[in-house]
Symmetry: C2
Subunit: 206 residues, 2 copies
């Protein structure tokens, strides 16, 4: 039975573990496609262009905005991040589920643009834990970490606009929850091909 594709957006504060969680979940669900974002920030250690992000220059980013190629974009701590639109739209048309991670500003923008989007808020267990993770990651200066934490605290207000939340206190459990959410959303009557169901049932007349 053909079902409608949809977009699932995982967002939450920087350091909540969005990327790790998505990489855990991707191999477990068929027809789940990751939407790679474009960013002007420098690659972190281990990040691969075209896999984790499309790393683009400021000039390239400007051009993509001008061509209306972003589903959403935002500036954060001096860098810009955006979601290329064509990939997402094509996958959804083919009935696939697209997953992406964006910050909270981006999620709010996408919800305004897309009629069928599932928003998941990923929470670190506490702000203290988030601070520890950002320090441990060692990719931001102390000042940048302080900025991120302040920002995260404000962003928590937006949780009420989300469909689901996952507390990332244990990676396995968090992955289990995200898998459940995606599989459940695939059982939505609102996305089912009701005419196909009805046709199956009409065959009894023959």
């Amino acid at each position: 039975m053909k079902v409608k594709g949809f977009l699932i957006v995982l967002s939450g504060p920087s350091g909540s573990g969005k990327n790790t969680l998505i990489s855990r979940v991707l191999p477990r669900i068929p027809n789940l496609k990751y939407s790679v974002s474009a960013t002007t920030r420098a690659p972190r250690s281990g990040e691969v262009d075209g896999v984790h992000y499309f790393f683009v220059s400021d000039h390239q980013f400007d051009q993509m905005i001008a061509k209306n190629e972003f589903l959403e974009w935002a500036e954060f701590v001096g860098n810009r991040y955006g979601t290329p639109r064509p990939f997402v739209e094509k996958q959804i048309q083919q009935g696939h589920t697209v997953i992406m991670d964006v910050d909270i500003q981006g999620a709010v923008q996408i919800k305004r643009l897309m009629s069928d989007v599932v928003l998941v808020f990923l929470l670190p267990p506490t702000l203290d834990e988030l601070r520890n993770r950002l320090k441990k990651r060692g990719q931001d200066a102390t000042e940048a970490i302080a900025k991120r934490l302040e920002h995260s605290s404000e962003e928590l207000e937006y949780i009420v606009d989300y469909d689901y939340y996952i507390v990332n206190d244990d990676l396995d459990r968090a992955a289990e929850r995200l898998v459940s959410i995606i599989n459940a959303e695939r059982c939505r009557v609102a996305r089912a091909d009701l005419s196909a169901i009805q046709q199956l049932w009409q065959r009894r007349q023959n």
Copy 2:
């Protein structure tokens, strides 16, 4: 974190496999409670009073109606079925998930009464398959089966009032889907204790 309890209603045509599915799922999810229905119909082979149903007389059923003890009740093929209200309300107040199976009339009644209910429609793959199952079960006369099938065909129209659907073509896969739906619904922001989340985050001030 304390979450709000809710009611999950599995319904679908007689013979779609509601009972079997629920008995598969119950041991897999903590704090999932089965709401035992009352019925005036005779026990089928293997059915235990107080476990599968409360088997009551017509007179007892009348008294329960008079005392407003039912969340819903309905008559079907000459027998009455009802959901005792106190158990469901108590479990939900304690933050548990309550699961029940009722026919489609019952589900529609419950949705009108309860503010927070999740409706799942269980579909046999085809009506032919449903006929085979009812014959194989051997608990209804040919005439009763014909009645049930006609009824089921009409009831399919109500699927649009449901949140989720599960096609029961494979019991393991159907159970997996129901588990996902319940676990996903437990991640709903609408049922989260947002003040508890916010308190965790405010601790950073200290």
